[in-house]
Each structure stands twice: as C-alpha cells, then as structure tokens.
Amino acid sequence: MSQAVVQAIIARFPDAVVSSHDWRGDDTVVLRREHLLEVARFLKHDDAMQFNLPVDVCGVDYLGWREPRFEVVYHLMSLVKRHRVRLKVQLDEADLRVPSLTGVWKGVDWFEREAWDMYGIVFDGHPDLRRILTYEEFEGHALRKDYPQRGYQPLMPMPTLSSDLE
C-alpha cells in the first residue's frame, strides 16, 4: 500500500538503498549504514513522509544463516500519513557500529540501549549507551546466536561446559 515510501526513499537516495521488499505487506528498505542518518531525517521531516513515531529498534543476529551477520531493524510509523516502513542496516561482525538516531527521535534511546545490551551493537552518538535489561557485570550479549541458551555469568557461577582441549 505504502510502497510509495519505499519508492520515495529509492528515488531520493539511490545510493543508500541496498535492497527492498514488501513481503506480507511490510515495506522494507535495507540501507547502507552511511546513509542511515540522512534517510532517517528525511523520513521524519519530509512533508510526504512525516514518520514521527519511532515504533521499534532491534538487532538481529544471522549467524550461520546469512552474511553479514548482524542487522539493525527500525520500525517507523507516521501518525499523520498513517503509513509504516521498516529500515534495516546490515552490519559486519568486525565493525558493529551504526549511527544513533537519538538525535532524530528521542524515543529510540532505550531501544538502542537494548540493542547494545543484547547484541553489542554500538550506536555512535548515543548519549547514554548503557546496558538496560541486563546488569553492568554481564558478560557477552545474550541474544547473540553464539550465546548459549543456558549461559552462565560471573555473578552466577555454574560449571562450564566447554569442548575446549581439556
């Protein structure tokens, strides 16, 4: 329905878009990291876009399925135009940084903190990038695919189950 948004992004930022699809009606644009910030500003401030509601930000780990390994997914909505869009930025494990959108929408603050906490994705320019759901002493990032389902933490010592040379 609002494929128009995707088209507008592609038309306006031809270099920024890696790919796009609208599976099951969810319009999705995969962006290059360098262009994320300007696309976000465009989406928020352009009269035809007006994406004023930051719905969700999260990370996804595709370890063992796809390359690059990580993705940051933004869900945005416009209460004025009543359309939605999903932005994605693909990130390589070696360079897990993405510009923070806190300057565009204040509401992504905690969501970005959560993505940092769960995946270790660094949001450049975030004013207060701390862990949010886990605690400061937590080691590793819990939602990564290589974090075990039953992980143990320094504050909760449990027997190690490693297949290392022992």
Partner: protein, 539 residues
C-alpha cells in the same frame, strides 16, 4: 549426455542417470520410499512417480533413465494427485501407531504424508491386522502392520550383507516380511536394516522405547571399534549416548556400519567410570584435585633422573591431537623413555567393513610418532626390567596377568585412563581421562583417512583428554606447549607431520582427507625446538 528439462529447469546428465538423480542434482526433491542410493531399485512404492513426455503414464523417477528432450514434471496436478493417492493407499492399512512407534520423528511416511497430502482419511473399513512384535533376530523386531513392503531390508541383506535371510510371504494386503524358515536376521550388519527402514516396521531392540528420536541431539563422530573408522552419528539424550548410527561417507563406509560398532556405545556405559584424580598422599592413595594429581605425576616422573628408566605406554586410542601432544612430551622432557604402543587385541574381520585391528587410530599415532622420531615397540614386547617410573595412557590394552605383573613391578606408576581397570587399581597416580564421546579431535583409519570427531557428551570437569595431561606434564617438566582448542593442535599436526601436510580442520568436513592428500607444504616441516630434559626434581 542426454539433456532434459525437469520442471522447466534444464540439466545435462550422464547417460544412464535416473530422473531422480537428475532432479536432485538441480535441487528438486522427489519423494521416495523404496529407493535407497546404496541398493538396487525395485520401483515398487510408486511414490516417485513423475510425468514425462516420453510415457503416457506417470513414470517412476528412481528407475527411469534420462533421455534427450525429456520434459519431466514433478509438480503437475496429476502428479500431486497421484502422490496423494499413493499415500492414501500406503496409509490404508497402517496402524495408528505413532505414539508407540520408535520411528515417529524420523519417519519418511510421516514426512511425506504431511508434506504431500495432509488430508483426512476416507477409510470406512477395518484395517488388516498382522503380527505386531515379531523378533527377526537378536537386535531387530518387526511390526508387520507398519511395513510398507518397500523391500529395502531384503535388498540390503542380499546385496550388502551378502546373507539372504529375509523374504516376503503371502500376497496382496496380507504380504509381510519374514525370515527364511530356520534362519534369523543375525548377520553382523543386521542393524542397518533398522536404519534404512523408511517406517517403523523394523526397530532395534537396543533402542526400542528408550527415548524419542526428536529429543536426541546428534553429533558426528567416528566409530572407534576398529581401524575402519566408519563415519557415525551419536545420538544423545540427557548427556547419555542412546544410539549410534552410520553416516554416509563414500570413502570409508558408504551408508553402513557393523553391529559390533553400533552397539559398542553400551559398553562404555557399562564400565565403571573413574572421575576422581588420585595421588599418593603420605604413603596412601587419596583422591585429590586435578592440579594436585598432575603435579604429583610430574614429580613422580621427574624423580627419575635417567629418562631411559621411564617407560611409557601409548595407546592407539589417542586422537591425532593427543598423539601429537604426547609425542611432544616424549620428545621433550621424557626424551629417551622406553615407548610401547598398546591397544586392544585383534578381532574378527570380514570383507565388508570390519577390520582385525580393533583400535581407531593406530595409523595416525604411528605417523605422528614417526615424524617426531619416536620409536614405539608393541606392547607384546613389554619389558619393564630396570624401569623406575611408568606412564600409562589408555585403558583398553591387551595385557594379560603377566603383563600387569610386569607393570606393577615398576615403583612409580602414573596411569591416565577413563575407566576403572586393573591399571587404575595399580596406579600410584591416577589421572582421569575422557572417552571418545567426550573429545574433539581427529582419527586416522587404516587407509590413512583422517576424520573429525565431535564432542557428543559433556564430561565431568575432572576428566581431561590425554593430550591435555601430556601438555600439562610437559609444562611442569619444563617444556611449555600451550594450546586451547584441538583445532590449533591439528594445525600444528598438519604443519609438522608429513602425511598431514596441507590438511585443515575445516577441510576435513564432510568426508575427511587421506594422508598425503593435502597440498604439500612449501617448506619442509619443522618441529618446534624440544626443550632439553629437565633436571630431575627431588621427589
């Protein structure tokens, strides 16, 4: 070289290729029941029917050969309907047995029905009843009601095991599999019939009702029961191995393995495991911590000034990594020690898979020791005269009473083993080891095939691999080697042992590599400089 189109995709194949193989080559899956790549093709289940322009009726894809200009359709409405009909026919007399059937979860019938039909039953009559629990042999039970008469088991006995033991009796819906009168399904490969049975008609007495297959966690391994080294899969539930199944490796074992290897996992559960390290404390043997035991072992070995007075019993149950680390120990701090290579006694062999040498890695250990310049005598030539200390690895040594007595005469006896054996009883210092289920590493079979072993079971924290102990002992005796992952050790093996040259850990998947098969190294392999034997430590 016929070129044909399957579902619109063009493919060129060798003459004589079946449509099924051609389709799988381009990634189109055609369901089958009776077809097995390792057996002949009777085309009796009709599941693989496809439409072709060369025949007025649907053609069995597993049997029909490709022809030029053939156009095959695996998804036409006609075929979809045919498959549903075949499934309905097969299920017509199939009992409502999933809850008690061991195959549920890996049942081809379940998969195909759910994928290709998933429509309700139209049966309005009684199902035909046949014998339910019929023992065909020592390890195989038949449920005739569940059988879909694909004859895979019959063909397997005839073609692979070369012993004609099974047949079909009666006709029509009363047909059933049975053994020839007076015969039993007791050939040494009988367990494979259970594996290849697409439904739950043949089940293993050993595995029957123990657990459900979808709860199992599998890990690839190598069967250690003989030097063939069949590629296997160990299925584990709640950290206990529940069964061993052969995996396809065309270079070693095709799809099969012998029952001996298949059921051997039980022996490891039956043997009493020893998980407590022990050492002499004030003249008595006590259970100590791992670190203390290793230190005690290092002191005992270090107390012997002349390395010639130390005897070392190595085992062909080492992984290549263990062997390399032990070789480092023997080349460095224990250089000059008298080395024996033990292992289990020879057993039966046949032309199919089984080898006489019942140890998994003799070839690998020998190659690595040779590269390290170590000479190992067979255990049969054991001579402990004049030895002051003994370091014994492994538990499955062919040692008779006399041999044990000879060992016991040595005053200091360090034993590294996993189970409670006579060796454990006589050890002055005991270090608990891991079994092959608990290790990551590689085995080299009699032909020099190097295959990877995954960890199937979590070991107790006190149990370590042979290589770890060798590494720690060497470290305590002045020769520091430090590795964390077995992969890293293997990389060293590949670098320093000629036969392994060019092999990589990743390169071993899926079917392994043969010694000498890797790319030759650019420069001759160099062994790391071995430390001179450390000065004897005061005991």
């Amino acid at each position: 070289m016929p070129t044909l189109k399957i579902d619109g995709r063009e493919v060129t194949v060798e003459r004589g290729t079946t449509i099924l193989d051609a389709a799988r080559k381009v990634g189109i899956d055609i369901p089958t029941f009776c077809y097995h790549p390792g057996l002949t093709k009777p085309a009796n289940c009709r599941m693989c029917l496809v439409d072709t322009n060369k025949a007025p009726k649907p053609t069995p894809a597993c049997y029909a050969e490709c022809m030029d200009d053939m156009e095959v359709s695996t998804q036409s409405p006609e075929i979809v309907k045919t498959r549903k009909a075949v499934l309905e026919f097969i299920l017509l007399n199939h009992p409502v047995d999933c809850p008690i059937c061991d195959q549920a979860g890996e049942c081809v019938l379940q998969d195909h029905y759910f994928k290709y039909s998933a429509t309700p039953s139209r049966l309005a009559h009684k199902k035909v009843h046949k014998p339910k629990v019929k023992r065909l042999g020592p390890d195989v039970v038949l449920d005739a009601e569940r059988c879909i008469l694909c004859t895979r088991c019959i063909r397997f006995c005839d073609e692979v095991a070369k012993e004609t033991q099974l047949e079909i009796v009666n006709r029509g819906e009363h047909s059933e599999i049975t053994t020839f009168p007076g015969k039993q399904l007791d050939n040494p490969y009988a367990g494979n019939t259970v594996d290849i049975c697409p439904v739950g008609a043949l089940t293993s007495v050993d595995f029957r009702f123990r657990t459900r297959v979808w709860m199992l966690q599998s890990s690839d391994g190598v069967c250690p029961e003989c030097s063939r080294g069949c590629k296997t899969r160990t299925d584990v539930f709640e950290n206990v191995p529940r069964r061993t199944k052969p995996l396809h490796n065309p270079r070693v074992n095709d799809w099969w393995m012998c029952d001996e290897g298949r059921l051997a996992y039980r022996d490891y559960q039956a043997l009493p495991r020893m998980e407590g390290p022990a050492a002499q404390v004030e003249g008595k043997r006590r259970v100590v911590t791992n670190v203390e035991a290793i230190e005690a072992a290092a002191l005992e070995l270090g107390a012997v000034a002349q390395r010639q007075k130390i005897g070392v019993v190595a085992t062909p149950w080492f992984t290549n990594e263990d062997a390399w680390l032990v070789a480092e120990l023997l080349r460095g701090p224990l250089a000059g020690a008298r080395i024996y290579l033990g292992g289990r006694a020879d057993g039966t062999a046949d032309e199919i898979l089984r080898m006489a040498d019942k140890n998994p890695n003799r070839a690998g250990v020998e190659a690595i020791f040779e590269a390290a310049g170590l000479k190992a005598a067979p255990l049969s030539a054991l001579d402990t005269a004049g030895l002051e200390a003994l370091l014994v690895f492994g538990d499955q040594h062919a040692l008779d009473e006399a041999g044990l007595e000879k060992l016991e005469r040595v005053p200091r006896r360090v034993v590294v083993s996993a189970f409670q054996t006579p060796l454990w009883k006589m050890a002055t210092t005991f270090l608990p080891a891991r079994t092959h289920f608990e290790k990551v590493g590689t085995f080299t079979n009699f032909e020099g095939m190097v295959q990877r072993l995954e960890q199937a079971v979590n070991a107790a924290a006190s149990c370590k691999s042979y290589g770890y102990y060798a590494m720690k002992l060497a470290e305590l005796m002045g020769h520091t080697i430090s590795f964390v992952r077995p992969e890293d050790v293997f990389a060293e093996v590949a670098r320093t042992v000629p036969g392994f040259a060019g092999m990589t850990w990743q390169g071993l998947a899926p079917y392994g590599m043969k010694l000498g098969e890797g790319v030759a190294p650019a420069e001759p392999p160099t062994l790391p400089q071995a430390a001179p034997p450390a000065a004897p430590t005061e005991a």
